[in-house]
């Protein structure tokens, strides 16, 4: 080893030493033979009907559905389509129905599921193929429709000047709502979205709540009423709250929707 001009004396006991805690607690449940039942369909091959295909593989320690599906593609079926990008639970690409519930596949551990796992694409969104759906197109359309960007007083601020101040607590609350990753779980889980094609879903209402909270945004309740004051907006919500229960980021959707509904009722009644 030629790395060093001054090799250290090696570990020595001292203030910087700490007893090793019980290490990474990897659950040692017995590993199983998994059966992945995957709903497959390619809209560009309509002559081949939709069907379930079953793939069998050995479970591994800390195996996620991402690792399981990659193994399927590596060893069993290279043609299986799905979308993983970050594989770390932050990009929102891999939402799918796991045993009927919308979840992020990349951070779903197989250990918490039965040995037979049924995977299907998210409903509501356009199917690309197999487990891949086009959430991007849907979200872009939503952003355009809801004008979901900060409407600041100055779009081209003085970049040399000290930034405008913000209360630290407000910044934290904003980030709480800003954490949405547009994965689509809330829409796929939503009773209204199954019936109303144009319903904005938890994701859309959360966006409005986020800009509503932002002191930099110049819009008023009356402006927001124009965007969500109807049955495709906040009044379409049936209050089933599956969006809240299934949000992978645990966004406080229930509170936000209730808040917006009150504000929008008031805005609607006052005619502004």
């Amino acid at each position: 080893m030629s790395l060093d001009d001054q090799p250290p004396g090696g570990p020595s006991a001292g203030a910087d030493d700490a007893p090793v805690p019980a290490g990474a607690a990897s659950s040692r449940a017995p590993l199983r033979r998994l059966r992945l039942r995957v709903l497959r369909y390619n809209p560009r091959e309509p002559q081949v009907p939709a069907r379930f295909e079953t793939y069998e593989l050995d479970e591994a320690d800390n195996m996620t559905l991402f690792l399981a599906l990659e193994e399927v593609r590596d060893r069993l079926d290279a043609s299986l389509a799905y979308d993983f990008v970050c594989r770390a639970g932050i990009c929102g690409s891999c939402a799918m129905l796991v045993n009927g519930r919308p979840r992020l596949a990349c951070r779903t551990l197989t250990g918490g599921l039965p040995a037979e796992i049924t995977l299907a694409p998210l409903p509501v969104f356009e199917l690309v193929q197999d487990l891949s759906v086009d959430t991007g197109k849907w979200m872009r359309a939503l952003g355009e429709r809801l004008h979901a960007w900060l409407h600041a007083q100055h779009v081209e601020p003085d970049l040399d000047a000290i930034e405008e101040r913000m209360d630290p607590d407000v910044a934290e609350k904003l980030y709480e709502l800003d954490r949405c990753i547009e994965c689509g779980c809330c829409v796929a889980a939503c009773g209204t979205a199954q019936m109303r094609v144009d319903f904005v879903g938890g994701v859309g209402l959360n966006k409005i709540a986020r800009f509503h909270l932002d002191p930099r945004d110049t819009r008023t309740d009356a402006d927001y009423y124009e965007l969500i004051g109807d049955d495709d907006g906040v009044f379409g919500c049936l209050g089933l709250m599956a969006c809240h229960d299934l949000c992978p980021k645990e966004l406080p959707l229930r509170t936000q929707i209730a808040f917006l509904r009150r504000r929008m009722v008031r805005a609607g009644l006052s005619g502004k």
Binding site: C91, P168, Y175
Partner: protein, 665 residues
């Protein structure tokens, strides 16, 4: 033939690409963005810890300025960076952070008064000034003299990407999602756009543009264990390499992040150590002070990663059934801090390891993290080998990072480069030749060639599996072109990669279904990845010195006398299995900060013959212009004229008030 016309074609929908497109659009040009995935799913979102900008708002950031940021970045780069570009970058970074604040990023803010932090393993109380209350906060990161990293909890990249993505929607920038550029349209001197495949339908079409900007990020997927997203396969860099004329720079400069969670390689942010987290070994010993008494856990990433691997080699790693690792201990930061400022880390530990990071140590080991190399451009992002081709962000080598990037400088680079290159691209479009110059025959030929190549790939009877080749590629790079390198292993790597390149000519598909067809995608991507890997391995083999993240055990010294230069790789012969290497010398006599010791890591380098004279000259100029910073800068290394006029203004900061003492408890 389906053809889409646009002024500026931006390939890549992450932070850099979106910001370039918004900039071009504001200058009145049509900009069209292509993205493999919905843009908000880009790898930019994975930047957790923050972006460096010398605002100097927090107590520990007081006194910070562009000069300190400049020196930290150049030292971090091990003098590989283009110092003019570093100057441009550090000057623009505060403006970028402030622009993003105006665009909606909920930056974490300073709270006036006492607060508890952990510094060097000890609890410390800092008193934040009332004058800074509500301004953008900074945290500590590795290799920096001041606390400079602006952050949004530990979801900085996400918040930035969403704000910029929303502004792109507001500016009506079209983003063509699930589109992959397969080939640049060019005549050997001028780029005219790209041949693009629709990843939903499989259809090919031509995008014809006055300027083409590659902003596709890095190539982390050349390695088996990487923090990079699945889409970071270096596709955009390969586009340039495949032209045969556009060089890629310093591909051997590959960063390994100290704290990828083991074994998955998912990133936990440098903010863990910046906020006071410690690295420990199998015995629970905090080992970094033994190696790096000055910077300890917060030396630059190349140094910390090497020290970790060195410590593992010395037998102090933790044995587990998946191999050996070390521990990251953030338990001392307390649950409240972790749940507020390191929330993603906490979620990642819960979801992927099943542990509570507020109570348990996190198993970590260095993992590939960043591609310092990329498409070689000048300071405007313009390719040095192909006119009309630009690059920005991680895909580019303009060259901000040299041989090692500082934490917090990459997301900062994405938006700064986006702001700058957006202007330069617009300038160039305004100057460049008119539409009539686009030779449609060239476009037709490129489309025909790509169509034929894909048809040929679909019609091979038997042959290799693309996924198998990718696996062998990743294993080879990890085993032989990793943190520690030497001639023997690099030669072995080159040999293996060349054989993979040969085998990749016979990749065969099980199914040729229309539409997305993941097999076909693998079939055309893997050969490109192999060519990129060859550029990395050949560059590393040829560079017989150690600099930044490139460490040769058989050549442990940084050799400024022979190697103060940038590697340029081109691939002139498509049928060859190796790149052509050339070198570009860095001019010591033009450097504001002449090469020396970095202040951390091994003190082990051979001086450039001109270094001492230049250092003396710099000292003399500093003294002569001691009272006039502007004249001093002009005498040392002028850069202001290189910036777009609207970005030249001085950055204002809150005046330092009376010094408040740090109270240690």
């Amino acid at each position: 033939m389906k053809v889409v016309h646009t002024d500026v074609l931006v390939i890549g929908g992450g932070l850099a690409g979106l910001r370039v497109a918004i900039g071009a659009r504001r200058r009145g040009l049509d900009a069209t963005v292509l993205s493999l995935v919905p843009p908000k799913r880009s790898h930019s979102a994975a930047a957790q810890g923050g972006m460096q900008a010398s605002l100097g708002n927090v107590f520990k950031g007081r006194g910070d300025d562009e000069n300190a940021h400049f020196e930290d970045t150049v030292r971090g780069s091990d003098w590989g960076a283009d110092q003019r570009v570093v100057r441009m970058f550090v000057h623009t970074a505060p403006k970028a952070v402030r622009e993003l604040a105006a665009w909606g990023v909920p930056w974490s803010r300073v709270r006036a008064g006492d607060r508890q932090v952990v510094i060097n393993g000890q609890p410390v109380t800092l008193a934040e000034h009332a004058a800074a209350h509500g301004l953008i906060s900074q945290r500590d990161f590795g290799g920096t003299r001041h606390w400079r990293t602006c952050y949004v909890s530990d979801g900085t990249g996400h918040a930035m990407l969403y704000a910029v993505g929303d502004q792109a929607i507001a500016a009506a920038v079209p983003v063509h999602e699930r589109k992959e550029a397969l080939q640049l349209i060019h005549d050997g001197t001028r780029c005219h756009g790209a041949i693009v495949r629709d990843l939903k339908t499989g259809e090919l079409c031509a995008y014809v543009a006055r300027a083409t900007v590659v902003a596709t990020g890095g190539a982390g997927r050349l390695y088996q264990v990487t923090t990079n997203a699945m889409i970071c396969e270096g596709g955009g860099i390969a586009l340039a390499l495949d032209t045969g004329v556009a060089p890629v720079g310093n591909m051997e400069a590959v960063q390994f992040h100290p704290t990828g969670i083991f074994p998955a390689g998912i990133l936990v942010t440098e903010g863990c150590r910046g906020d006071g987290g410690l690295l420990r070994d199998a015995r629970g010993h905090r080992f970094m002070p033994d190696y790096e008494p000055e910077k300890k856990e917060l030396a630059s990433r190349d140094v910390v990663s090497r020290r970790m691997e060195q410590h593992i080699r010395a037998g102090h790693g933790v044995q587990s059934r998946f191999g050996t690792h070390l521990w990251l201990d953030i338990t001392l930061l307390g649950r409240a801090h972790i749940e507020k400022n390191l929330r993603e880390v906490k979620e990642i530990c819960e979801s992927f390891l099943g542990i509570d990071a507020a109570q348990q140590w996190i198993p970590v080991r260095p993992a590939q993290h960043y591609t310092m190399g990329g498409i070689r451009t000048d300071h405007t992002g313009h390719s040095v080998g192909l006119r009309g081709l630009f690059a920005a962000g991680e895909a580019a080598c303009w060259d901000l990072h040299g041989f090692n990037r500082l934490g917090g400088n990459s997301v900062a680079e994405t938006v700064v480069a986006g702001m700058l290159v957006g202007e330069y691209v617009a300038d160039w479009c305004e100057r460049s030749a008119a539409w009539a110059d686009v030779p449609m025959r060239l476009v037709r030929d490129a489309l025909a060639a790509e169509t034929a190549a894909l048809a040929e790939a679909c019609n091979r009877g038997t042959g290799e599996s693309a996924r198998q080749l990718r696996l062998e590629l990743q294993q080879t790079m990890t085993a032989h072109v990793g943190i520690f390198r030497d001639g023997t292993h690099l030669e072995q790597a080159v040999e293996t990669l060349e054989s993979l390149a040969r085998r990749s000519r016979t990749i065969c598909l099980g199914r040729t279904a229309p539409g997305p067809n993941p097999e076909l995608v693998d079939a055309y991507r893997v050969p490109r990845m192999i060519r990129l890997a060859l550029a990395v391995a050949h560059g590393a083999l040829a560079r017989t010195e150690s600099r930044g993240a490139h460490f040769r055990e058989d050549h442990p010294q940084r050799d400024d006398a022979r190697w103060l230069k940038r590697t340029l790789a081109t691939w002139p012969d498509a049928w060859s299995n190796r790149p052509h290497l050339a070198y570009e010398t860095l001019d010591v006599n033009a450097m504001e900060l002449p090469p020396g010791w970095r202040g951390y890591g091994a003190r082990n380098h051979l001086d450039h013959p001109d270094a001492a004279a230049r250092a003396a000259e710099v000292a003399r100029l500093r003294e002569r212009h001691a009272d006039d910073p502007a004249a001093r800068q002009d005498a040392l290394m002028p850069f202001a004229d290189l910036l777009p006029p609207r970005l030249r203004g001085p950055n204002h900061r809150v005046e330092a008030e009376e010094e408040t003492p740090v109270v240690a408890r």
